[in-house]
């Protein structure tokens, strides 16, 4: 328990260093673009594949489960849309990215720690926490909401594709369901969740890597810790945000 509080305290102290005034904004801008490419663009294909399949599976499951003359067929499109917007594209994609991006960040920064690259930056007078972590946080907080929207679109298209190719329902019914009782605020909700989860994944993973010590085994452990801690925190904040922003 003491260790938990110690870690939380150190995490917030690290955030204090991360958000202190950057040395030169121009250098940070360059690094933000680099990180958007490394952490954002490189996650598009994984997000697309998973979202398309989940959208298709959700539509298929709904078609099977809602097999009743009393339930209109457009409910399949409606349910698929709601699942994608409210939970899958923000929360589940965040959990998947916690594995991919989180472990990447923790191992990158952890390796820099044990190979003294972070010490080298500190000796040069550079705020290493800000220089290394801030661009990653800005990049993911800006890009992950876009990735969430992308996931929603791809998932819904996946559901349409399964309807079109298998004939489980008329595609027109599916499309009708997509527009049925649509609440635009749910998109805002998904975007906010995407941004919050991006911050959680990046900052926690960076923290785990930044305080890694020892050898390559420790980098591996830091990476695992990053994924576990990010995933649990995402679930806790999913609950909190759902309660606060009830759609």
């Amino acid at each position: 328990m003491i260790s938990l509080f110690e870690n939380i305290g150190r995490y917030f102290m690290l955030l204090g260093k991360v958000f202190s005034r950057p040395e030169k904004l121009r250098i940070y801008n360059r690094r933000i673009w680099f990180e958007i490419e490394a952490l954002g663009f490189n996650s598009i294909s994984l997000t697309a594949i998973i979202s398309a399949f989940i959208g298709a599976v959700v539509a298929l499951q709904m078609a099977i489960t809602l097999e009743s003359p009393f339930i209109p067929k457009y409910m399949i499109g409606y349910a698929t849309r709601e699942v994608m917007i409210l939970e899958f594209s923000s929360t589940v994609v965040a959990l998947i990215l916690a594995g991919k991006v989180g472990s990447n960040i923790a191992s990158e920064i952890g390796t820099m720690r044990i190979t003294e690259q972070i010490d080298a930056l500190e000796i040069m007078g550079i705020n290493s926490a800000s220089y290394l972590i801030l661009p990653k946080i800005v990049a993911t907080v800006l890009f992950f909401p876009l990735l969430t929207l992308f996931s929603i679109v791809v998932g819904i298209v996946g559901g349409y594709a399964i309807a079109y190719f298998t004939g489980i329902m008329i595609p027109g019914d599916y499309v009708e369901g997509l527009f049925y009782y649509f609440e635009p605020f749910s998109i805002t909700y998904a975007i906010v969740k995407g941004a919050v989860f991006a911050f959680i994944i990046t900052s926690i993973s960076a923290y785990c890597g930044y305080y890694a010590k020892g050898n390559s085994l420790e980098v591996g452990r830091a990476s695992t810790r990053a994924v576990v801690a990010s995933s649990i925190t995402i679930m806790i904040f999913d609950l909190i945000l759902t309660q606060i922003m009830r759609v």
């Binding site: 010490d119 500190e122 000796i123």
Partner: protein, 251 residues
């Protein structure tokens, strides 16, 4: 000049540095030698501020470094160059980007001035033409030379080297030693080298400090080592039978 005044450092109840007082001279290659685990790396890292000492004070010329806050230390750190054991080059950056980083962050130089400065530093360590390579594409000796170029790019007043010859063949070690020695003289830098390499001690050691079990055990010049009667120092420096014979011949 860098001066440590009665500094001590403890890690988890184990005293690693015990009341060490030492002065390192400007324009000289000062060497810290000692067995593995004797505390010399902790001493070096304490001097640059990577470890905070438990007691004692450290002075950079007339400025008490230990009394400074983060901002004050940052201004001194811009005058410090450090070469780490493994080079500590940024893996995701090319040679040129590594050397250029301090210029990007701390100077208002134009692009052409930065390019010229980087070219000068790379030519000084004889690495012209390697600027587009990544650290993973360099040999051990090249990594050390890039680290030297990066360390001198801001014209530092103090240069710290943590085992700059580790993992290098004897010939490359001599090249690195001579490079550090020449740079020290050329720019009148206070250089402190942490080393195990006895060739370095006898080649470039103008002032040598021997650390034994966290204490400063001995200090002197490379000539003094040959005459020293200190048993621990002799056991360390002249560890092999051949070295012992060499010492007796020299005396």
């Amino acid at each position: 000049m860098i001066r440590a005044d009665h500094i001590s450092k403890t890690f988890e109840g184990r005293t690693v540095l015990n009341d060490i007082s030492v002065e390192f001279d400007t324009g000289k290659t000062n060497l810290i030698i000692g067995r593995s685990g004797s505390g010399k790396t902790v001493l070096l890292k304490s001097l640059v501020g990577l470890h905070d000492v438990d007691s004692g004070r450290i002075f950079f010329d007339d400025v008490c470094y230990t009394d400074l806050d983060f901002r004050g230390r940052k201004s001194i750190r811009k005058d410090i160059g450090m070469i780490f054991q493994g080079g500590a080059l940024l893996d995701s950056s090319t040679v040129r980007e590594n050397v250029r980083l301090p210029l990007d962050l701390f100077t208002e130089m134009s692009e052409s001035e930065k390019r010229d400065r980087v070219d000068f530093c790379l030519s000084r360590v004889r690495l012209t033409g390697a600027d587009h390579l990544y650290p993973s594409e360099l040999s051990g000796g090249m990594v050390k030379r890039v680290a030297i170029a990066r360390a001198i790019v801001l014209n530092p007043r103090y240069l710290f080297c943590d085992e700059p010859n580790s993992g290098l063949d004897p010939q490359t070690s001599v090249v690195i030693d001579n490079l550090i020695h020449d740079i020290t003289k050329e720019f009148n830098i206070t250089t402190i080298i942490n080393t195990h390499d006895m060739n370095s001690v006898m080649e470039i050691g103008e002032k040598i400090v021997y650390i034994h079990e966290g204490h400063k055990w001995w200090e002197g010049s490379k000539d003094d080592i040959l005459l020293s009667e200190n048993p621990e120092l002799n056991d360390f420096v002249f560890a092999s039978a051949m070295a012992k014979r060499a010492k007796s011949v020299a005396r």
